[in-house]
């Protein structure tokens, strides 16, 4: 199991997000993160879905996304040179003693302070989901009051258009059946 990043272009119609989210529940996949926003094309929204799946599972997700009538195109960026960005806001406790340490760390992570009061700082950080995770980790000892993350957005590098071909279907047999131990799944 690994994280897969899928981009789906969808018609901007009511309920479309519901359809996509329902699909993951229905087919028993876990969404790591899901972001949605407008694109350069009016009427078309772009979803970035990060999902925990085997390689074969990702193909099944992709094929199922294609099956939704409102989905225009699906790209799997997992194995393509791509940019991943996420934004996080972290509200962290500070004392006069720790404030400078936190500011230093903020600097190291190339993050920005966006709000300050006598007992806390709010820091805006962008980067890969891993980087934000790391930032959270180093701030933890100071006491995180709250944290909000947008979920990853992704874009392929380079100028070539990704293909709009139907999903690739052939996969290795090996990663097809996740080992469910001796538990009987039969009904």
């Amino acid at each position: 199991m690994a994280k897969h990043t899928l981009i789906a272009y969808v018609e901007d119609v009511p309920g479309v997000l519901n359809r996509v989210a329902s699909l993951f529940r229905r087919r028993n996949f876990n969404i790591d993160s899901l972001t949605v926003g407008r694109t350069e094309q009016p009427g078309v929204s772009r979803l970035t879905v990060v999902v925990e799946a085997t390689e074969a599972g990702a193909r099944i997700v992709e094929a199922n996304l294609y099956k939704l009538v409102n989905v225009l195109r699906v790209d799997d960026l997992t194995h393509k040179p791509s940019l991943f960005r996420e934004l996080g806001l972290v509200k962290v406790k500070v004392t006069p003693q720790t404030r400078s340490e936190v500011l230093q760390l903020t600097d190291v992570f190339r993050a920005r302070v966006v709000d300050v009061d006598e007992a806390s700082i709010v820091i805006e950080v962008t980067g890969t989901p891993e980087k934000i995770g790391k930032f959270e980790l180093v701030l933890k000892p100071y006491g995180i009051i709250e944290i909000v993350r947008t979920g990853a957005v992704a874009m392929a590098r380079g100028h070539e258009l990704l293909s709009a071909a139907p999903p690739l279907v052939r996969t290795a047999a090996a990663d097809h059946h996740p080992d469910t131990a001796s538990l009987s799944m039969s009904v």
Binding site: E11, R19, S22, R59, Y66, V69, L72, R73, S186
Partner: protein, 619 residues
């Protein structure tokens, strides 16, 4: 042309070629019902429960290949449809459901009879619409019919607010043409894949063709048989594929899977190539996936890409319409006989349901297998559609009723819906009024939707209902017998006097509890002009054999324990045996019984006229 939304609904249905709709009126759909009076060309069938409406639309669709239409009101009307929609979804049946919705301004206020129906049906429809403006109705309906019937068919629901039905707008059929940029009903597999598939077929030593419902839906019976003939490949069908290949075809081995023929399941485990045509490797077909057909390469042909590698990893996937795929692959297939493979299969041929019926004890009771096999023999010369529910009777029907034509068996396969049979049969009768429609149903499932007898009576149509009444929820009881130490929790079931029930609906009711009476009962039923309900009182604790326990290896079947072999029942002497070349299970049984009891010589009964065979044993 200025029309109300309600009128647009009927205009569109008429233009889509709809001649019958199944529905139930109510507040939010009333404007549509009011407008219906202006469209007498479309016949409306008033059902007794909205579940019935969806099953009827489903039965209509499966019998005719056209789109079935069901109509209901908002809230409870729509939620009652859920079971029927899910049934159609699992079995890829093209139906369009139209539901009323509260006024667009009232949406979200918990108004009377308001339910988020598009939300409720989202996972069980191919697509659905919430229409709040009259101007959007025509396009939604056109798209719904297109989506429901193209690609892999399925149910589409259109939820239309009451104000959208009442308001007036310009109706322009042409302008309402489907605009579905993201919808891909068809795919075309690359030529290289065809070459690989052909190579696998040409080099296979022990190939098998799986015929699923896709063969029925694409109408490719002849093409599949041609492929089988060219390359000498035996065919086995899924439950929903029954009828796709004539039962009498020498290439057709019978049904595979949990209650499939033993020799078929064994052949699957031995095969070195599976050519799966329009089927989806359901768990009832595969058994334990870890040990499933490990010797075989797999070619999977399906129109739906999400089916590929879903349950069984395949070597070659040909995504596309079966007709197109077969036409491209046929020229690349070399002639072959596979004599050795056929000999292996034939050595075990007959080892399955056919043998199991021979082991029925002669308890003087009526057995469901007898009823169904007799029903087949008595209706062989007639054009018959059989509609079954789910459970033991469904499996016995699949085993002992031999279907020669596509669309002659309609059954709830994927969802396994109790209560499906009677309403679906009514729908099938509207699709094919010239055919006999038989309902084979258990006493449990029948009681779930028996109210639709009133629909049949009101419509004056004839469906023949054969209740296989064992006073048990038989399949569940069977599982309790095998896997829960015979603790029959909540499976013994009583019912009304079905004969009197039929009479209460002003229909004919018959009861049969002896094998000797089956023939006359069926004849009486066929002679009656109206719907007839037959209460076949059968052995209570009979079991469907063979059986692959859920999740077990496909060739590890539970077989009928050997008991006293069935001794011929007295009624057989009057029987005119069919001229079929098929082995007749009863004749074989008698011969074997005679041999075992030392009362007669074991003859080869298939070659002898039935009457003679019968005589040898009755001394």
């Amino acid at each position: 042309m200025k029309l109300t939304g309600a009128e647009i609904i009927w205009e569109c249905l008429q233009k889509e070629g709809v001649d019958v709709v199944f529905g139930y009126p109510g507040g939010a759909i009333l404007p549509t019902y009011d407008a219906m009076t202006k469209y007498p060309k479309i016949h409306h069938v008033l059902v007794r429960h909205e579940q019935g409406a969806t099953h009827m639309a489903d039965g209509y669709a499966r019998a005719s290949g056209k789109v079935g239409v069901a109509i209901a009101t908002s809230g409870p009307g729509a939620t009652n449809m859920v079971t029927g929609i899910a049934t159609a979804m699992m079995d890829s049946s093209p139906i369009v459901c139209i539901t009323g919705q509260v006024g667009s301004k009232a949406i979200g206020t918990d108004a009377f009879q308001e339910t988020d129906v598009t939300g409720v049906t989202l996972p069980i429809t191919k697509h659905n619409y919430l229409v709040t403006k009259p101007g959007d109705i025509a396009r939604a309906i056109r798209e719904a019919f297109y989506i429901a019937s193209s690609g892999r068919p399925g149910p589409v629901l259109i939820d239309i607010t009451k104000d959208a039905q009442q308001l007036t707008t310009e109706f322009d059929w042409e302008a309402a043409a489907p605009r579905l940029p993201g919808y891909r009903p068809s795919y075309h597999a690359p030529a290289s894949e065809f070459a690989r598939a052909a190579e696998l077929i040409n080099s296979a030593k022990r190939p098998l063709i799986f015929a699923g419902q896709g063969v029925l839906k694409s109408g490719t019976t002849a093409e599949v048989l041609k492929l089988a003939q060219t390359a000498g490949i035996p065919i086995t069908t899924t439950l929903l594929g029954i009828g796709a290949i004539p039962a009498s075809s020498e290439f057709n081995l019978g049904m595979m899977g949990m209650h499939g023929e033993a020799w078929v399941n064994e052949a699957i485990q031995q095969a070195d190539l599976l050519i799966a045509l329009g089927m989806r490797f359901d768990d009832r077909v595969t058994g334990n996936l870890k040990t499933y057909a490990l010797n075989a390469k797999k070619i999977h042909v399906d129109i739906d890409p999400t089916e590929i590698n879903k349950n069984v990893p395949v070597d070659v996937a040909l995504i596309g319409d079966l007709r197109e795929v077969l036409s491209l692959i046929q020229p690349q297939v070399k002639k072959a006989n596979h004599d050795e493979w056929w000999a292996t299969i034939n050595a075990r041929r007959g080892d399955a349901a056919v043998r199991d019926i021979q082991s029925l004890p002669d308890s003087g009771h009526l057995y469901a297998a007898h009823v169904i096999n007799d029903l087949w023999r008595l209706t062989q010369k007639r054009d018959t559609i059989v509609v079954t529910d789910v459970g033991q009777h469904q499996m016995w029907e699949a085993q002992y009723f031999r279907h020669e034509k596509p669309r002659s068996l309609i059954t709830s396969g994927g969802l396994g819906t109790m209560g499906f049979a009677l309403p679906a049969a009514i729908g099938a009768k509207f699709a094919c009024p010239e055919k006999d429609v038989w309902v084979v149903v258990g006493d449990g499932g029948f009681q779930m939707t028996s109210c639709e007898l009133a629909t049949a009576e009101q419509e004056g149509i004839k469906v023949n209902v054969a209740i296989i009444n064992n006073s048990f929820l038989g399949m569940v009881r069977q599982w309790q017998e095998f896997f829960y130490d015979k603790r029959y929790a909540a499976t013994p079931i009583t019912g009304p006097d079905f004969v009197k029930l039929a009479e209460a609906y002003r229909l004919k009711g018959l009861r049969c509890n002896k094998r000797a009476d089956v023939k006359s009962t069926v004849e009486k039923t066929l002679a009656d002009k109206g719907t007839v309900v037959i209460d076949f009182v059968v052995e209570k604790e009979d079991t469907v054999f063979p059986m692959v326990p859920a999740g077990a290896d496909l060739d590890k079947m539970i077989r009928r324990p050997k008991q006293d072999v069935m001794i011929e029942s007295g009624s057989d002497k009057d029987w005119e045996m069919p001229s079929s070349t098929l082995p007749n299970v009863f004749v074989e049984a008698k011969a074997e019984a005679a041999a075992l009891s030392g009362r007669g010589k074991a003859t080869k009964p298939a070659k002898k006229p039935a009457r003679k065979a019968a005589k040898t044993t009755r001394r």
